[in-house]
């Protein structure tokens, strides 16, 4: 459904020296640098897949989404989405995709949401029945039926985001690009949007690409993730595989009879390091190859009630991957 072949994007950016002198100088001569936003990315995404695109700011996530949705063209490489070259912007292609940008409102600020939806119905040539069914389903699921006749600018951020989602999904897109769909929302709104997206995906089975800085979005929505660093793919696979591939540590959690026993636990440096110790529970970060030795060492201590071994938090692992230089 989505395929890229060594796609790259280089931006030419003007660099200005700071201060008044720099501003005046830039009137006469300008320095330009080339920024490799996306570099040789080859990915493939199938129907019904929901893929998380993860990376630090400037890693190339949004640039990749912009290329795949046809907004910008690549500097080199090729891509097909639904069999179309996206940046040809063929109307049949555009009728089958949706782009939701958490940071950029797409609806008409001065109009009530329903007026915007009616306009989109015409733009996307949505048959009357489909429009009515989709609108009813989307407004009920997102619980915004009562806000349909209120001007967009008068809605809360969460309500506005829900309206943006409805606007983007009214035409039953087969490919959905979600660029930071929960940015700036409170926890309740974030949860409600995540729940909605999961239900929507189950019902309609579009291919979805989600970019987000919130690990909860990625963990709850995506089985597969693509990690970008400095424009290149450093990981493409199952979310659960991140731990196996990148986590060289595991966490041993030990529960003691009392705080004194917990405080008295001294771990040799070669086995691991104590991360936290509170209310009789100690968490120790241990290298994978030392797990058995560390567990045996701990179990020989006095006052141990319970011991569990768990994977390191996936968010922390991903963060360490995307920050690695």
């Amino acid at each position: 459904m989505i395929k890229t072949n060594r796609i790259s994007k280089i931006f030419r950016v003007h660099v200005k020296e700071p201060g008044l002198y720099g501003s005046v100088k830039s009137l006469f001569s300008r320095n330009w640098i080339e920024k490799n936003a996306v570099h040789d990315v080859t990915i493939s995404i199938g129907e019904g897949e929901i893929v998380g695109l993860v990376g630090a700011n400037g890693a190339g996530k949004t640039t990749l989404v912009k290329m795949l949705s046809g907004i910008i063209s690549p500097s080199s490489g090729s891509a097909t989405v639904l069999g179309y070259n996206p940046w040809d912007r063929h109307n049949d292609f555009r009728r089958q995709i949706a782009l939701i940008m958490g940071q950029k409102a797409q609806l008409w600020w001065d109009l009530p949401a329903e007026d915007c939806f009616i306009l989109l119905k015409e733009i996307y040539r949505i048959p009357e029945n489909t429009y009515n069914e989709n609108l009813a389903y989307l407004t009920e699921t997102l619980n915004v039926k009562d806000q349909l006749n209120i001007q967009i600018r008068r809605l809360s951020l969460g309500e506005r985001m829900k309206m943006e989602l409805i606007a983007a999904l009214l035409h039953d897109p087969r490919v959905v690009f979600l660029d930071e769909p929960t940015i700036g929302l409170d926890l309740t709104a974030q949860r409600s949007i995540r729940r909605f997206l999961l239900n929507y995906r189950q019902k309609n089975r579009p291919a979805m690409i989600v970019t987000s800085h919130y690990m909860e979005d990625i963990e709850q929505l995506c089985k597969r993730i693509i990690i970008l660093r400095h424009g290149s793919v450093v990981y493409d696979g199952e979310l659960s595989g991140v731990s196996r591939g990148f986590a060289d540590h595991r966490i041993i959690s030990v529960t003691f009879n009392d705080d004194n026993a917990a405080a008295g636990l001294k771990i040799p440096e070669r086995l691991g390091t104590v991360m936290t110790s509170s209310q009789g529970i100690v968490e120790i970060k241990v290298r994978r190859e030392s797990i058995a030795e560390a567990a045996s060492f701990i179990l020989k201590r006095k006052g141990v009630n319970d011991l569990t071994i768990k994977e390191e938090d996936i968010g922390n692992i991903i963060e360490s991957i995307i920050r690695e230089s």
Binding site: K66, I71, N91, R94, A98, L99, Q103, Q106, I123
Partner: protein, 270 residues
């Protein structure tokens, strides 16, 4: 469902957006008329008094005031309300949403432009009715239903020309972020050479002959002259042909700029 379905909806949506702020709508009317006509009134009164004449270049003072009351209305109808909008959308990345929609960007924008123009017909007729009620129609005016129809047709052609000129300039924003100065320059040329500041009849005859073949007069003076009944049917047809020819030239320039420029778009801000 044909193209006209969404074009009609864009059109009606734009009208709804404009009338959402009715205070602003009528204030624009009042301020534009007051500012424009009051300056013209005192200036031309002094000129007529100083020369001690009742008619200058075929205009009575009364007729000139009718001309000036129509200038801001007609200019607004031709230019629409979205001057600089496309350039701003390229600059701040709002163009993105139009690139996602499965419709022609320029048809969408033109539908908005026409909606913005048509809504000001109400203001034009209001201004004419008020003028007629208070001052009556000038002796030299041959305004009638036919001349108004000719004027409306001229405004339609001029609006199309203006849309293509402005779009061609605004698309420069793909290369240079800020094109506001260029748009102001065009506006200034129309004001000076298009008959906004002074009716073209007051220019030397040679100039007038040259200006007839440039696009500026068709963005202000020509439609007003049509409405006032100062244009013959032949002159009207000639004017429409010249307007259409310029519109064709700028449409080609606009299409060329769009084809080249859209590959430079970076969609900043998302």
């Amino acid at each position: 469902m044909a193209v006209h379905g969404w074009v009609t909806k864009v059109f009606s949506t734009e009208i709804r957006k404009l009338v959402t702020y009715r205070f602003d709508f009528w204030m624009q009317f009042t301020v534009a008329v007051f500012a424009h006509v009051s300056v013209a009134f005192f200036l031309w009164k002094a000129v007529f008094d100083y020369n001690n004449v009742t008619v200058m270049r075929g205009y009575t003072f009364h007729g000139l005031m009718l001309y000036y009351i129509m200038v801001p209305m007609v200019e607004r109808m031709i230019f629409g309300a979205g001057l600089g909008m496309v350039a701003r959308e390229i600059y701040d990345g709002s163009l993105t949403k139009y690139l996602i929609y499965p419709v022609s960007f320029f048809r969408y924008k033109y539908a908005q432009h026409v909606a913005n123009s048509l809504i000001f017909i109400a203001q034009l007729f209001a201004a004419l009715l008020i003028f007629r009620a208070i001052f009556g129609m000038p002796a030299e005016s041959a305004m009638n239903a036919g001349s108004i129809a000719m004027g409306i047709a001229a405004i339609f052609f001029s609006g199309l020309l203006c849309f293509f000129i402005n779009s061609s300039i605004e698309l420069i924003a793909f290369w240079a972020d800020n094109v506001w100065t260029l748009l102001v320059m065009v506006r200034f040329c129309v004001s000076l050479l298009g008959g906004v500041m002074i009716p073209l009849a007051f220019f030397p005859e040679k100039w007038e002959a040259v200006l007839k073949y440039l696009p500026f007069s068709y963005l202000a003076s020509f439609p007003i002259q049509c409405i006032m009944g100062r244009i013959t049917l032949i002159e009207w047809a000639e004017g429409l042909i010249i307007t259409g020819a310029w519109a064709g030239v700028f449409m080609i320039i606009m299409s060329f700029m769009w084809d080249r420029g859209r590959y430079r778009y970076t969609g900043v801000g998302i």
